[in-house]
C-alpha cells in the first residue's frame, strides 16, 4: 500500500503483522493529511474480520424520561422536573412503544431525581413479560452509577437485579470523553468518571452482560484526548472482554453550541477508521447514521465500520440536540446505505447473532442495473 504520508507506512507494517498500535501511532492517524491512507488501513482491518458484511438491527429507542439532575454542557436533551418539554413515561407507555417486528429495544434516559430503582426493574420486567422475544439493551454506565449513588446500592447488585428483570446488554453511552479536564470544563463531573465507567462495564462483563462503548468528540477535546480515550477502552476490553461495538458519537451542535459548526464528515470518517485500527480487540465498529447522516455513514463502510446500528424508530436524545436526520429509517433505507457501498446487509440481533443475510443485487460500480 502506498501512502501520501510516509509515517503511515510504519503503522501499516504493524497493522499487517497484527501488531498493536501505540499512542504515537494513534496520534499519527488523527493528525495526518492522508485521510484515505488511514481509511484504507481500517478497511483492510474491517475486511479481514467481516469481509463485505455490514450489520443492522430492527430496533427501537426508548427514553423513559429526559428529567435529569445533571447539566452537561453538550446536552440538548435533559430537562428539569416540570420544565417545558420534560417528559416521564409510564410503564404502559413504554411497553406500547415496541412494535411487532422490533428485535431490540435501546433504553437510555436522564438521571431522574426521584424515580426509585424498583421502577426501572419494573419497566424491564414488564417489557420482558410483554415481549419475551425482544432483547433489552438498557442503561448506560452513567445511569447505573446514578442508581447506585441515589439509592445506596452496589453496581453488582444493580446489574444482577436488572439482569434478573430482563436486561441483556448495555449501551455504551455516558463515556463522553475520558478526561478530567473536559469533565470540569463541560460540567459533567457529576457523572461517572472514566474509572467508574470502566469499572461498571467490567462488572457487567463479569456477569455475562455484553456492552458497547462510545466516545463523544468533535467539540473542544484535543486529538490526544481522543487517542487516550480509545486506548482506555482497549485496556478495559483486555481486562474484561465484554465489549461488542464501539460507536463514535460526533457532537451535535444544536442549541448547546460548544463549537460553531459540526465537525466535518472527513473527521467522522477518520475517527471511525482510527477507532477500527486502535481497538484491535473490539469485534465491531459502528457508523451511526443518525448522527453522521446517511451519506457519511454509507462512505464510512469503506473506512472500517461494519455496522450501521438500526431502524431506530425514536431517538429523542440526539434528535432534540439537533441531529438533522429524521428519526426512523425503514429497513429499505438501511439497505440503500449499505448497498451503495457495495456491501452485504446482514440483519442481526442485539448480540450479533445473524438473523438474515439479505441478497445484494447492486454492484460496487457507479452504474445501476436496468430492469
Amino acid at each position: 500500500m502506498r501512502f501520501a504520508d510516509h509515517r503511515l507506512a510504519r503503522v501499516w507494517d504493524k497493522v499487517r503483522a497484527g501488531e498493536r498500535l501505540s499512542r504515537e501511532d494513534g496520534l499519527t492517524l488523527f493528525e495526518t493529511e492522508d485521510l484515505l491512507g488511514v481509511g484504507r488501513m481500517a478497511d483492510h482491518a474491517k475486511s479481514e474480520r467481516e469481509g463485505d458484511r455490514v450489520y443492522f438491527v430492527i430496533n427501537r429507542y426508548i427514553s423513559p424520561t429526559n428529567v435529569c439532575v445533571l447539566s452537561c454542557a453538550f446536552c440538548g436533551f435533559a430537562r428539569r422536573e416540570g420544565e417545558a418539554g420534560a417528559f416521564e413515561h409510564s410503564i404502559e407507555d413504554i411497553v406500547g412503544m415496541v412494535r411487532e417486528e422490533v428485535r431490540e429495544v435501546h433504553i437510555v434516559g436522564g438521571h431522574h431525581p426521584d424515580w426509585p430503582f424498583e421502577y426501572y426493574e419494573r419497566v424491564l420486567a414488564a417489557l420482558h413479560a410483554a415481549r419475551p422475544d425482544v432483547q433489552i439493551k438498557a442503561f448506560t454506565a452513567a445511569e447505573i452509577d446514578w442508581f447506585c449513588r441515589r439509592w445506596k446500592l452496589e453496581p453488582v447488585e444493580v446489574l444482577t437485579r436488572l439482569k434478573a428483570a430482563g436486561l441483556q446488554t448495555m449501551p455504551g453511552g455516558g463515556a463522553e470523553i475520558f478526561s478530567a479536564r473536559l469533565a470540569k470544563l463541560l460540567r459533567y463531573t457529576g457523572k461517572a468518571n472514566a474509572d467508574r465507567w470502566c469499572e461498571i462495564h467490567g462488572i457487567a462483563h463479569s456477569l455475562g452482560i455484553r456492552t458497547n462503548a462510545t466516545m463523544l468528540y468533535g467539540h473542544v477535546e484535543t486529538l490526544a484526548e481522543r487517542v487516550d480515550h480509545l486506548l482506555r477502552l482497549r485496556a478495559q476490553q483486555d481486562a474484561s472482554g465484554g465489549f461488542l461495538t464501539f460507536i463514535a458519537l460526533p457532537y451535535q451542535v444544536g442549541a448547546t453550541r460548544l463549537v460553531p459548526r459540526p465537525t466535518p464528515p472527513a473527521d467522522n470518517l477518520r475517527t471511525i477508521a482510527a477507532a477500527r485500527l486502535l481497538l484491535d480487540n473490539f469485534p465491531h465498529v459502528e457508523a451511526y447514521w443518525v448522527l453522521l447522516g446517511e451519506e457519511t455513514a454509507s462512505v464510512a463502510l469503506h473506512f472500517g465500520a461494519d455496522d450501521v446500528n438500526g431502524t431506530l424508530e425514536d431517538e429523542r436524545v440526539q434528535h432534540m440536540a439537533g441531529a438533522e436526520t429524521p428519526a426512523g429509517l425503514a429497513r429499505e433505507q438501511l439497505f440503500r446505505i449499505i448497498r451503495d457501498a457495495g456491501k452485504v446487509p446482514v440483519e442481526r440481533d442485539a448480540l450479533y447473532n445473524v438473523v438474515r443475510v439479505w441478497q445484494c443485487e447492486v454492484s460496487a460500480g457507479a452504474a445501476r442495473a436496468e430492469r
Partner: protein, 357 residues
C-alpha cells in the same frame, strides 16, 4: 491492478476502456480515491479548492423534448408553462449581480416560439448592463433549438452569440453520451453527436465550456465509458472544456422514476469523480456538485480528486421540480472548504482567480 494503472498514469499513458471498466466496477474505492487525489495534487499542487458565485435562473419551462428524467418542463400551451420576457430575465441577472455573482448560468426548455433574437438580446443586454457578469448561457440542446428555429446552422448561431458577447457555454444536457441511453431517456434530444457538435463548434470558435454527466438511471458501465471517451476525444481537438461535472439522477416527479431500482448514492458518486479525474487526463478541473449530492458528500469528494466546489446557485428550479432542494451561502462554502483542509479560492467562470479567502 491499481499499481498498474498508477504506473501507466505516471508514464504519461492514457487509460483505456479496460482500465476504466475495472475502475468503475472493481477497484477498491479508497485505493481509487487515493490515486485520484495523488494525480489531482500533482497537477494542481496548491491545496486550494475553487468556487464561483453564481445563480442558475431559467427563462422558460416550455419544452417540446419530453425527457424522461425531467420534472421541470411543461409542454407549450400547458397551463403551468411559462416564458419570461428579456426584461424579466435581466431582472434576475440584476438580482444575481446585486448578490455579488460573477456568473449567471441561464438555461431553459426548448420553446420553438422563441426567435433567435430573443437569445441574442439576452446575451447582449447582459453584457451591456452588467459587465461584471459572465453570461454562461444556453446548453447544447438549446443551441440546437436556436439553429432549428432560425434555420441557421449551429456554427452560425454560435457566431451570433459570440458577436453579442458570449464566451462560455454550460455543459448541461449531455446526460450520458451514449446513443442507446439518449434514445431511451431523451429521444428527441438527438444522439450524442447533437451535444458534441455544439461543443466542438463552440471550442473551434474560442468558447470555453464544461462537460456534465447525469448518471444513476438506465446506463451501464460501457455507456459511462463511451461518455468519458467522447469528452476526452473532443478535448484533444481544442482543449475547450474547463471542467467535468457529474451528478446523479434525481428521480422525483419524473417518468424515469419507476425504472430506477436504487438511486446512486455517495459511494457511486465518489467513484465516478475519482475515475473522471484519472480517465479525463486532459480536462483541468473536476467539480463536486454539493448541490445535487449534498454538502457532506461534497466535502468528502475533496479527498477523491476533486478541486472545484461549483457555485452558490442562488436560484435553481430544475432540481427543485424533482423535490430536491439545497441552499448555500458564500460564507458556508468558505467554511466547508476550509474545514475539509483546503484553501477556498473564488474564481470566474473560466477559472481565473477572483479572491483568495
Amino acid at each position: 491492478m491499481i499499481e498498474n494503472i498508477r504506473d501507466k498514469i505516471l508514464d504519461g499513458k492514457r487509460l483505456d476502456r479496460d482500465d476504466g471498466r475495472w475502475l468503475l466496477e472493481k477497484a477498491p474505492l479508497l485505493e481509487l480515491g487515493a490515486l485520484a487525489q495523488e494525480v489531482r495534487l500533482s497537477r494542481l499542487p496548491e491545496r486550494a479548492v475553487t468556487f464561483v458565485i453564481d445563480s442558475n435562473p431559467n427563462y422558460t419551462n416550455a419544452c417540446v423534448t419530453d425527457c424522461q428524467f425531467c420534472a421541470f418542463y411543461r409542454k407549450p400551451g400547458h397551463p403551468e408553462a411559462w416564458t419570461l420576457t428579456v426584461e424579466e430575465v435581466l431582472a434576475k441577472v440584476e438580482s444575481a449581480a446585486r448578490k455579488g455573482a460573477t456568473t449567471v448560468l441561464l438555461q431553459g426548455g426548448h420553446n420553438p416560439e422563441l426567435p433567435l433574437e430573443y437569445y441574442v438580446s439576452l446575451v447582449r443586454e447582459t453584457r451591456r448592463r452588467f459587465p461584471q457578469i459572465t453570461p454562461h448561457f444556453f446548453t447544447a440542446s438549446e443551441i440546437q433549438t436556436m439553429a432549428r428555429v432560425s434555420g441557421l446552422g449551429v456554427g452560425a448561431v454560435l457566431d451570433r452569440l459570440w458577436e453579442a458577447g458570449q464566451r462560455t457555454l454550460p455543459g448541461g444536457g449531455a446526460e450520458v453520451l451514449s446513443a442507446r441511453v439518449r434514445q431511451r431517456i431523451a429521444a428527441k434530444k438527438g444522439g450524442p453527436e447533437a451535444w458534441l457538435e455544439v461543443h466542438r463548434e463552440a471550442h473551434r470558435r474560442g468558447f470555453r465550456s464544461t462537460a456534465t454527466l447525469m448518471y444513476g438511471h438506465v446506463e451501464q458501465v460501457d455507456d459511462l465509458l463511451e461518455h468519458l471517451d467522447a469528452v476526452r476525444e473532443l478535448q484533444d481537438m481544442f482543449g475547450g472544456f474547463t471542467a467535468f461535472v457529474p451528478w446523479s439522477f434525481k428521480p422525483g416527479n419524473t417518468l424515469l422514476e419507476k425504472w430506477v431500482k436504487q438511486v446512486a448514492g455517495p459511494n457511486a458518486y465518489l467513484r465516478l469523480l475519482a475515475v473522471s479525474r484519472l480517465y479525463l487526463d486532459n480536462v483541468p478541473h473536476i467539480q463536486a456538485s454539493w448541490f445535487s449530492e449534498g454538502k457532506r458528500a461534497g466535502q468528502i469528494a475533496l479527498h477523491f480528486g476533486v478541486d472545484d466546489w461549483g457555485g452558490t446557485l442562488f436560484e435553481e428550479n430544475v432540481h427543485k421540480a424533482a423535490d430536491f432542494v439545497n441552499t448555500i451561502s458564500v460564507e458556508e462554502i468558505v467554511a466547508l472548504i476550509r474545514e475539509a483542509g483546503f484553501a477556498p479560492v473564488q474564481r470566474t467562470t473560466t477559472y481565473e482567480v477572483v479572491r483568495r479567502w
